[in-house]
Amino acid sequence: MPAGLFWFLAALSVLSALGVVVQRNPVHCLLSLVLTLLAIAVLFIGQDAVVVGFLQAIVYAGAIMVLFLFVIWLLNLPAESRPTGHLALRFFGAVAVAALMAELLVFALPARLQIRAAAHAAGYGSIEALSQTLFSEYLIAFEVTSVLLLVAVIGAVALARRTTAAEMQERGAADKAEIEKAA
């Protein structure tokens, strides 16, 4: 990928990521996050990971983030009055983050990344290549993931669905019985 594009995307992603962290209004945070995701998606495509890049745009930006948006609306969240009150937390957090960053940078040093650059085979990053890998050596993981998704759906419904009045009543009755039993 051309260097100029990379630097542009890098700046964009970092800035928008910062935006996620610093902005008060959840919706703005969300938009910054979407921007970051898209920038990263383009970074993927720039490295021949075309399919994954588009998937990132479709699934992440197009679906998951919309879900976030819905929740924000549903809870009708106001802009955050103040960041977390724990100054100690913020201080130590900052220190710890700096430390982590430093460590990771050491890893990122060119001297440390002695990875022999391999040429991309024809169709690298194409949907065929992805599918070949996915359905051959990662098949089990794939199936498990499908089950995971199913479970997640069920769990989400079970958690978020509003309990009906009848259920409320019988639950209350059960609690009363509990209390009486205890008493």
């Binding site: 970092v14 996620v20 021949d48 976030f68 890893f107 990122a108 990053g125 989400a156 958690l159």
Partner: protein, 100 residues
Amino acid sequence: MVSLSWLMVLSAAIFAIGVAGFLTRRNILVMFMSIELMLNAVNLAFVSLGSRMGTMDGQVIVFFVMTVAAAEAAVGLAIIISIFRSRETVHADDLTLLRW
């Protein structure tokens, strides 16, 4: 051709930002978003290394990360909703019921 190092640095930076966000924001939703940031930073690292090594594995893993992220978002948001229903707040330091 951009050197791998810079990609790594970028990914590290985004990850750190995500961590910072998770540690300092009070709004659970935003903390959640910070988690997504971290995930994406890692994804970026995966794809970069994978493309450098010319293997598909990195991308496959990213694929899985996305799926898991989707599941996680669904359940996590559901939890947030039910929390909000019972506690009328999504501020992390108001949700300290599980304490001494």
